[in-house]
Amino acid sequence: MKMRQTKNPEKLKLAFYWAASCGGCEIAALDIDEKILDVVAVADILFWPVAIDTKYKDIEAMEDKSIDVCFFNGAIRTSENEHMAKLLRSKSKVLVAFGACAHTGGIPGLANVGSREEVFNVAYLDNPSTENPNKITPKTSIKVKEGELTLPEFYDTVKSLNQVVDVDYYLPGCPPSPELISEAIDTIVQNKLPPKGSVLAPSKSVCDECKFEKCEKKISEIKRIYEVKEVDPNKCLLEQGIVCMGPATRGGCDARCLNANMPCTGCGGPTPESSDQGAKMISALASILGVKDEEKMDEKEVEELIEKVRDPLGTFYKYALPTSLINRRVMK
């Protein structure tokens, strides 16, 4: 894909934006360390609210497609997030969904278990540390004594970036590893971007990058990480009975959570061959669980066994609920 401006071929025009996000993607971008100096030698950063004083009106005033590449992180949670996604889409030649929230909805996407009303009630009304006798909640248009103020609308449902605009590339991870970011930047600078729609990460799973040994052993019980006194630092965590999202998760992270003796929680999103990360993990777990005499178990015993996996939603869909097959709780 070609994106350089012909009239100014010497410098790329880049933009970074955050929607419903935590700022970790901005920090990850800084974690390329000294390479940032190389980047600014070949590129102008036109927009980056965390670091640069460009305002929305400056972006609105730009001609369409005047940004070569826009890295967009964060999910779509409010009308402002959606507006900025559309604005930056029209101003950018290439739009990259940067990080888990823009890619698959991310942890904010877990809010699809509830609704706006629930979130507001929990936050502003029936809340033990909040003193709110007049039952005030934030409004999209507010009359104050000096005039009118506005706030963006808070949506019921969290969406990934590609659910509101056309996305060219995806950079996975929460946040993407500095290595993946570095490689993506090199690819862009050298004008060697792969076909549109590609995920800019290896197609292997986290297991392929994991140092722990796999013995293809069946397990008979599921344990929670805090119940295991000491993790065996040489043996596959799944084979130690700990739910690890490695088999269902795209790698490119060097399995760094596992290097700290903790299971993968799935931030890289689904592997290329599956669209529903949670379903793939459930199937992987089913194939490794081998309970003695399982054929003879009655329904109640099976249910008890399934109960061992506490909070399946938060475990299997921690980062990808908005982009999974069932992407929210049914609204009344």
Partner: protein, 486 residues
């Protein structure tokens, strides 16, 4: 009335916009800082596995993930009634120092310094880290990048990864460090101490030796006389990882000192229609609007507030700088918002000195890093995030799932004070309808001093578990509806 909008406000973490209203004379009638975002963590944390909380809540903020990670791990220690082994406690505190190192360097050089090094009214295209590097030279620029990276690397060695670490568990941490890793960290901490000293000298040269900047710091537009809050150790010295919450008044006298589990009795929150953020205040004083002084329950947190709320620093070099600051600015407490930048650098020095003490501790490579947990219950955790006091409070059900999560987040504590600061700065900067980019940046400098993180402040709001039970009669007509927190 004429309205001027700054949207988005920049060089901070998260979203915000400022609306300034001018009266017929062109003077500022009032100004509002609105937070246009909310994510609703408190709602979707319900039902999650307790052990996932340190990693879920770190996603409230990618700039201060370590603060949430350990506030959460400490709340879980308490909820499972377990004390981490001494080595685990030290590893957590060491990682915390790594976090303070990178976060304070990030704020000072990348977010705050452009206003002083390049100048408050420099062209916007220069008022950023690249402008700073242009001014101070690429060699110093590389030092800034290198030492920020050291802070991140120390955190990554201990936590698995720096942004969104994974090591925190109830009863300790998941990973011990080897002698090589210990040495590697020591080799990074050593130059960080020198870099912190260098940063204080730079502040002295660029800011304190410039009369205009000193006048700006001491001007009424950037002064607020609020209460101050911070975590202190048993000697009332600043501590990031543990201790009691201390509140001092406008004269520097102790008003309150309480354990985190009593936060409910001491802090309340006020709601406004025009922002998604809430406004905490001291319960015993009460909410009296956006005012400072003794009658207003508004308090401040973060570097300057921590120094004001304490009686010094627990390490020698930082203690010396602490005294120097108060001597220079006319005694304790200092109420000048722009002095937050100075206090931040004193804390940076403290974090490097404390990291050195910890990395040299014989116990730091111990393999005894976890204790077995007890039965799940209720727990409280508090740390000082780079931007201020951070409280996590959970109730676990019998299966150790989250029944209720309640968080009071660093920047939220400052919401009232920041609102007043931008209003006062706008009143000072904009007169007779004269407005330009430089003057508007002077307004933005008022919030920037606090290093606010509006991702934190607006994404984490306290809450109870919602429950609705509808009872129907046999004709399927609603007979009774029982609601809790719905």
């Amino acid at each position: 009335m004429r309205k001027i909008t700054i949207d988005p406000i920049t060089r901070l973490e998260g979203h915000g916009k400022i609306s300034i209203f001018l009266n017929s004379r062109g003077d500022v009638e009032n100004a509002y800082l609105q937070i246009p975002e909310l994510r609703g963590f408190e709602r979707f944390c319900q039902g999650r596995r307790a052990e996932d909380m340190p990693q879920i809540t770190s996603r409230i903020c990618g700039v201060c993930p370590v603060a949430h990670h350990f506030a959460s791990a400490k709340a879980l220690d308490d909820a499972f009634n377990v004390e981490p082994p001494s080595a685990a406690r030290k590893l957590r505190e060491l990682m915390y120092c790594g976090y303070v190192i990178y976060d304070h360097i990030l704020h000072f050089y990348f977010l705050g310094a452009p206003d002083f090094v390049v100048g408050p009214d420099a062209p916007p295209s220069k008022r950023n880290i690249l402008g700073v590097i242009e001014k101070v030279g690429v060699e110093i620029g590389k030092e800034v990048i290198k030492h920020r990276a050291y802070g991140q690397k120390i955190t990554a060695i201990l936590g698995g990864k720096a942004t969104h670490p994974v090591c925190g568990l109830p009863g300790g941490v998941s990973k011990a460090i080897s002698e090589e890793e210990r040495k590697e960290i020591e080799d990074m901490v050593k130059p960080c101490i020198d870099f912190a000293k260098f940063s204080l000298r730079l502040f002295d040269d660029i800011v304190l030796k410039n009369k205009d900047y000193v006048n700006l710091i001491l001007s009424d537009s950037y002064t607020l006389k609020t209460y101050n809050m911070g975590l202190v150790d048993k000697n009332n010295k600043v501590n990031f990882y543990d201790g009691k919450i201390r509140v001092t008044d406008q004269e520097g006298e102790e008003l309150l000192k309480f354990d985190v589990k009593d936060y409910y009795e001491n802090i309340s929150e006020h709601v406004e229609e025009w922002s998604y953020i809430k406004f905490p205040y001291l319960k015993s004083i009460g909410w009296n609007g956006f005012k400072d002084g003794k009658e207003s329950g508004i308090y401040r947190v973060g570097p300057l507030a921590r120094l004001n709320a304490s009686e010094g620093m627990a390490t020698p070099l930082a203690e010396k700088e602490y005294k120097h600051m108060y001597e220079t600015l006319g005694g304790k407490p200092v109420n000048s918002s722009l002095a937050f930048h100075w206090a931040r650098l004193i804390e940076l020095l403290y974090a490097t000195e404390r990291a050195m003490e910890l990395i040299k501790d014989n116990e730091i490579t111990s393999k005894n890093i976890r204790n077995p947990v007890g039965e799940p219950g209720e727990g409280f955790g508090v740390v000082e995030a780079a931007r201020g006091t951070l409280i996590h409070h959970y109730r676990l059900d019998e299966n150790a799932l989250i029944d209720k999560a309640n968080l009071i987040v660093a920047t939220t504590n400052n919401a009232g004070a920041i609102t007043m600061s931008i209003r006062d700065a706008a009143k000072g900067a904009i007169k007779n309808g004269k407005v330009n980019d430089g003057l508007l940046n002077m307004v933005e400098m008022a919030f920037r001093a606090y290093d606010p993180c509006f991702a934190c402040a607006s994404h984490a709001l306290p809450g109870g578990i919602p429950l609705e039970i509808n009872i129907y009669n046999k004709r399927k007509k609603l007979y009774k509806s029982l609601k809790r927190n719905v």
